[in-house]
Symmetry: D2
Subunit: 276 residues, 4 copies
Amino acid sequence: MDDLKLAGISKEKKHTVIEINGIKIGKDFVVIAGPCSVESEEQTLKTAVAVKKAGADMLRGGAFKPRTSPYAFQGLGIEGFKILEKARKETGLPIVTEVIDARDVSWVCEYADVIQIGARNMQNYALLKEVGKLKKPVLLKRGMHSTLSEWLNCAEYILAEGNPNVILCERGIKTFETYTRNTLDLSIVPAAKEVTHLPIFVDPSHGTGKLSLIESMTYASIFAGADGIMLEVHIEPETAMSDSDQQLRPEDFEKIMNKIKKLKQSYDTIVVEEIG
Amino acid sequence: MDDLKLAGISKEKKHTVIEINGIKIGKDFVVIAGPCSVESEEQTLKTAVAVKKAGADMLRGGAFKPRTSPYAFQGLGIEGFKILEKARKETGLPIVTEVIDARDVSWVCEYADVIQIGARNMQNYALLKEVGKLKKPVLLKRGMHSTLSEWLNCAEYILAEGNPNVILCERGIKTFETYTRNTLDLSIVPAAKEVTHLPIFVDPSHGTGKLSLIESMTYASIFAGADGIMLEVHIEPETAMSDSDQQLRPEDFEKIMNKIKKLKQSYDTIVVEEIG
Amino acid sequence: MDDLKLAGISKEKKHTVIEINGIKIGKDFVVIAGPCSVESEEQTLKTAVAVKKAGADMLRGGAFKPRTSPYAFQGLGIEGFKILEKARKETGLPIVTEVIDARDVSWVCEYADVIQIGARNMQNYALLKEVGKLKKPVLLKRGMHSTLSEWLNCAEYILAEGNPNVILCERGIKTFETYTRNTLDLSIVPAAKEVTHLPIFVDPSHGTGKLSLIESMTYASIFAGADGIMLEVHIEPETAMSDSDQQLRPEDFEKIMNKIKKLKQSYDTIVVEEIG
Amino acid sequence: MDDLKLAGISKEKKHTVIEINGIKIGKDFVVIAGPCSVESEEQTLKTAVAVKKAGADMLRGGAFKPRTSPYAFQGLGIEGFKILEKARKETGLPIVTEVIDARDVSWVCEYADVIQIGARNMQNYALLKEVGKLKKPVLLKRGMHSTLSEWLNCAEYILAEGNPNVILCERGIKTFETYTRNTLDLSIVPAAKEVTHLPIFVDPSHGTGKLSLIESMTYASIFAGADGIMLEVHIEPETAMSDSDQQLRPEDFEKIMNKIKKLKQSYDTIVVEEIG
């Protein structure tokens, strides 16, 4: 990787561990779950309670939604963040939520435990630099057109400003295949692990865009070596205001959570133990 | 194009013409030329004078440079804009320059005649909305991963805020081919023309990333039906602080300009006349 | 192009010219036109007469059709070749037709003036070696997933067997864009010209898959520096057994031919002359 | 999948099971291992004995090698098949080997237990039809540019001729990413399973082209639901005549085999059991 000169990465060799409310990202296997969008208090709280009960570690939910069309639902904004605050209070789950404008970073930080930078904004350098000035953990999604090297350089934009708490998240890349919404690139997980110390998550919901493929891609992600998973869950997916084809019902998420726990144990026993 | 519901476009059917200092974009064939980055007063003024003399209509030059690596030259910022202002004063050429942060839009407008949104920021919706609030013309580059539909939806973000002065610019997409830096998609020119009334430019410098291919792709763009061309020119390309492999020398640019004028006449006489 | 060690190409530096019935491929600008498939004697002869009248230099027409589905029309086979023979007799146009099986190469050569290797068979090395044993000109289409280097290596498979008469043909590559059937890569034309002496054609019919884009891509190809063009023409496109969305009517082809001639003259006068 | 009309698949709904020497492909989890190329008797026999000892079910090895360059090693041909025959005799392992020319299908069948169609020949319809006339199992690799629909249509070419014994094999697709040789698309495994009854394998060796990524992609494939795996193993990878960067040493393969067995048990207990 000749074109990758990453001071932030060469400076510290140890695998990064980010602690949030006792959850150790980069050490524990962490599940982030929740709706694509915060649509209402009822929808968000019910989903939050359900994913907490099923065993999720953190709650995701977008109050700012970067949508392809300007006429699509753009998120509830400040009202959405207040709903997320209630959900955190009620469930104790830390909040992962997206920021799409550098001007919103400081105040959103009061509501967010992890700031998400979406795929479309991966190379929004103004935004990267802004979140780099904080210590707040940042979940940096891979751009749908981004090589590993370009992605890590974006992480470096954040590290270079002084924020070491970056979590990578693979979410599928654009290819010619049309059966899936994106092509989930699981090989990027071990690839990233061999050139960086940053934790890496997988988002099989966006990565496939297809409900029927999410379960197996979740399990495969564990064995690709991911540090965690991000899943979209909605109490009533068919009424969702965005991504209705890829949000799990709480009962299905619960079944998957049960298997994730057992599979993680298999992974630790069979794969890691024998490496160690 | 089922997924394309563009009120801004359906509202006005007439081909958009944007007038800047007597130049009619969407009617005249317009050549934007200049360095990738504003590096110094001398470099910028000399290049500006040279491209003006060769027949360019507008001057390009980046004062904010979105670079893959945070350690690469990031542009001169405000100092760069002041240099561009001098170049405009000296040559009379209107200025095309990039903004990468919504917070800079208002003050950069005092220096820019056309605001450029780069490929990496095509889906930076906060930035699109900000430039949508002005009447200042916006040159919107195609994202390197963007379908025609996604691109036009980004244009619509600007139109929907009230700014009708959008110019599209094809600059190459990401494919598996490695001989060129990007794959220049010239078929997007007539494709865009059949679904939108917006003018469309081509940038063969970024589109190929290879000096030896720029000339023929420039001529091909004219016959693909482009409304204009954007070319990188540098007085001393080998010392350029960015994109040194794809910037033309002024003398080569001048030769190309001479042919562009003649070829545009051939295009109008042979292709357009017989259509009309 | 480090991975390209092409003895066939390094051996002979001179631009290859292939003469067929007085037509000089690699010197003259050559237009190959005709139906996607040979469907019947009437359809083929009428189309052949029409394209001849309009000024085409050679006749294309498939008797073996490599189709995505095994249940789609697979071509008339030997019957089709006999129809092509009649068309050649009646119009004097040399025949360009595809072979998809090494076992058919020898006998098809009696009907074909140029053997076409289709995109799907670009890396069918058994077939390449077989046509390499002849002197019959071979039109080698670029695989839809092929880099320039891989493509030229396939040409080299033919050259290495002793057949120097290879014509390259760009026909669009697979990308994420769905507005067009393929993404026509015109920059491959000057790119190929800087690393090989072989003539290169463009096929805007397959390259775009969209009738409305063919005309401008044809003109753009001339100015990209192509040595010729291949266009699908059908007397009644709406009834065509294959590719009905991308075949021109004879009257539209004739209008395009008239402009091609004038544009080629512009190209020679304005672009080439000044280079020479 | 509107464009997929596959009689062979709609005719028989039951999951296909193909029995070879007591190995049940589509039921058991099957590991195919061996060198990229058959290079010599010693290299092949030693590797065969080693992979047998480690627990492989079948032996792979190419006697015909489709190589990008005509000057690269093209395989030992008939001599190679005789070596494979000895390896089968000595180890009892069934042989998986590639055919690249329809003319060789009948005689190669005497040496092969499974005929492999490589990625470059996925749409070599003459070859597909030829192997369709037999009952010999066919391992059909996905073309590096092929959508699921196009791939399944190629399988259908074989089924339509009367051979129901088709095994799919994902081996990576071409994308813009350059860190890996190809992008392994594991989501195609559950995707294929929801539209066809055919068994599907994964080839992480070609799929990544990088030794360091093969192990985790192998484990991930099991949990994506693959019916088997194909791995390149060479007694001395650094001297290999092809693919030297992606062939495992026998001792590393053995460690992976041990984990595969345990992981397959986890998969059956945790994932499948709870589904059943």
